[in-house]
Symmetry: C2
Subunit: 200 residues, 2 copies
DNA sequence: TTCAAACATGAACCGGTGTTCATGTAACCC
DNA sequence: GGGTTACATGAACACCGGTTCATGTTTGAA
């Protein structure tokens, strides 16, 4: 396994980026096992051997994709909730942003989920870092009295799980997803839970 | 691809069952791509070729595992919530049962999740049938006034997602999971959501 | 006991793919 | 413009695993 070194010329930087983008496309469509290096380099318009100039093996490029997507997703959600007036509004905005992200880049979403099997550590890191940030926000909101007290970590994971499942069912599997409706209904559940109103 | 026919003798029935059980073990541990037919037949104590007497190919046995587990899981949850006095109690019992099931049979849980990539249709059927049953229960509870009104399907999927995420984080990834604590906290979220108490 | 159908075996077949390498070409610095 | 480093190429290598098949053994009904 040769050590892939970082590119040092403009051409090298471009080639590496092209191969990474091709891997995102091919692995996102076909999945990790079915995506061959030959497929990836063909999509990138380079020779097979070029791959090994920039990446030491197939799993390394996959891990880099997962890492990159972690950054993209966190940044996207952070921006989406940046000017929410309070935590409950942030929950709505974050969920909406996530579902729209899944709709726009299903390949990325697939790659992250596949990491559970291809590179469990990367998968765990991805969600742990997301969950930690989420829980910190919940703690801050609790301190401000914007939400009720409770275990922030458990809540964070529960809410992430909700978002993932809704993304599967109502974005990935639906032909014409009505994201707003899903967000509205889910947000009511997040805010008030299942108990009937005292008035009812 | 030869057509694998159903076994007709006692020996045949036993062999087939042994191979299926071996597949559950090996695929649950190593995952679908890494689990070779040779691994499976070795674990089953049979010759390689015997596999193809009972299953036409590797994906077929995987699909059968997913199907079988769908039945097991649904039955298990149904029994767990059978004598819950109302829907909110059923939510607690069902979540606890699911998390304990994940703790007891992590290999089965892994196989179901891997079906997302190996056999997407089987995966979708698994969760759709689960989700349909869940939603029906929520509708019945809503009619009885046990829970607030809302879209039962969306709620069902949101709640399934919560359970899955909590299973990942607090059962699969934790060394010494404290399932009761997770159930308690999650149940409060399910019941009351995040909004602060009116009294607070 | 007999015999046809069912089952068991594992070596061989077959296609595929991750990785390497010897040979060549382009980029950049002095 | 010469030379060193960086990069590009694709055929060849090495290995692996799903599937088949010809040959044998067991089963169970008559």
């Amino acid at each position: 396994m040769a050590k892939a070194t970082a590119p040092k010329t403009r051409r090298g930087i471009e080639r590496r980026a092209k191969i990474l983008a091709a891997a995102e496309t091919v692995m996102g469509e076909q999945g990790f096992p079915a995506a061959s290096i030959a497929d990836i380099t063909r999509e990138a318009g380079t020779a097979l051997g070029t791959f090994y100039i920039y990446f030491s093996n197939k799993e390394e490029i996959f891990r880099e994709l997962v890492l990159e997507m972690g950054k993209v997703t966190r940044k996207m959600v952070a921006e989406a909730i940046a000017d929410a007036p309070d935590r409950l509004a942030a929950e709505r905005a974050g969920l909406a942003a996530f579902l729209n992200f899944v709709a726009k880049r299903p390949a990325l979403y697939r790659i992250v989920e596949e990491a559970r099997f291809v590179d469990p550590e990367a998968y765990q890191r991805y969600f742990t870092s997301f969950g930690d940030a989420y829980a910190a926000q919940l703690r801050a909101a609790e301190a401000k009295g914007e939400i009720s007290p409770g275990d922030a970590d458990i809540r964070a994971w529960a809410l992430m799980g909700m978002a993932k499942a809704l993304g599967d069912r109502y974005v990935i599997w639906d032909d014409v997803p009505d994201i707003d409706r899903v967000v509205n209904e889910a947000h009511r559940l997040i805010c008030r839970g299942l108990v009937p109103d005292a008035a009812g």
